[in-house]
Amino acid sequence: MRFLTTAAMLGIAMALGTACGPTYRMDAPDDFVKYAKDHGKFAWTTADGVRVKARDVKNEPKAELPFWTDAAQRHLTARGYTKKSERCFTTRQGAPGCTLEWLAPRGNEDWVFAVTIFVTGDRVTLVEAVGPFARYVAVEAKLAKALQTFDPGP
């Protein structure tokens, strides 16, 4: 009976773990706060609306970081985004990642759409950041510094 209870609890714990999704870790970037709407998700924002969020997608077809960086670059260029910069780096935990920054018109402003790509086995982790150009540029270095500490989780 005790065995069954333990197994059931383990099952529930595993199910909950799966439901909660990956657990990302990152040192809080200066000027950003965790977005309060949903504490479970990895979302940050500045007071003036620069937003950061992480999510996983399937690494399908299975490919490495240079492949996905190149594919993302070609796709966004074809969609009319203007490339601002590309920066590849290795996190403190040793995970290689690449940040691609793009510009897109939104209303009368230029907005930055940045995506940082990490590839971990079957997962591709995307850390997306968005904000109006001037406001994004003001926190760009702080965000890049925080990304050095990003851990896509197990």
Binding site: Y35, A43, R51, K53, V57, K58, E60, P61, A71, A72, H75, L76, A78, R79, G80, Y81, T82, K83, K84, L103, A104, P105, R106, N108, D110, W111, F113, V115, V124, L126, E128, V130, F133
Partner: protein, 211 residues
């Protein structure tokens, strides 16, 4: 009539005397002709997509000034510049670093023959003018009127040829660079579908909607 004839006598002298003064550091047309150097006009265009056109415009104007060039048109979406020909390629490279290059052209056209032709025509017209002026001294009224009509037409031709020559020479002396800026005008092409499903989820608006 006397005043007009006096004017006709002085004007050609002024036109004939007004040979272009060679700029320092620039070979004269005669020197170039003697050496057989080709006179080349350079036209360059650069289309840049930039985030902040004001900032880039200031930067481009500063670089142009440092290189000894000057703007001929400054507007929100366009800059027309005249720059020393020997600097044009270096400047284009510097300008290209201020944004995303959407297009770049550099065209060289040989103006040697056009300039030589204009110079020859100008010389011929001046010779004719000199000969006509000599007729004025000992001609009767009827002949004077005929000479006067011919000289009036010649003065107009001389002025036109001279200004054409000046334009050609200015085009050789300074390269023309036209920069157009694009930023908000370019619309996104939303129909592009990637065969890699997750790439289709990379989108600024989608991100903001789901945040």
């Amino acid at each position: 009539m006397r005043t007009f004839l006096l004017l006709l006598c002085f004007l050609p002298s002024a036109l004939l005397a007004a040979e272009p003064v060679p700029l320092a550091g620039h070979p004269t047309r005669t020197d170039e002709g003697e050496r057989g150097a080709r006179q080349t006009a350079i036209d360059a265009t650069l289309a840049l997509k930039v985030a902040h056109p004001d900032q880039v415009r200031r930067q481009v104007l500063e670089l142009t000034k440092q290189a000894g060039g000057y703007p001929t048109l400054v507007s929100d979406g366009r800059l027309d510049l005249r720059v020393p020909p020997q600097q044009v390629e270096a400047l284009l490279t510097q300008f290209s670093q201020t944004g995303l290059v959407l297009g770049r052209t550099l065209q060289r056209s040989d103006r040697t023959e056009v300039i030589a032709d204009l110079q020859a025509r100008l010389r011929t017209k001046r010779d004719i003018f000199q000969r006509l002026r000599a007729f004025l001294d000992d001609s009767n009224v009827a002949a004077t009127l005929k000479v006067e009509r011919s000289m009036t037409a010649l003065v107009s031709d001389l002025e036109r040829l001279r200004s054409e020559l000046e334009v050609e020479e200015a085009n050789v002396r300074n390269a023309s660079v036209r920069i157009t800026f694009q930023f908000h005008q370019e619309r996104r092409v939303d129909q592009v579908i990637s065969p890699f499903a997750w790439l289709n989820t990379l989108d600024l608006e989608q991100f903001l909607g789901a945040f």
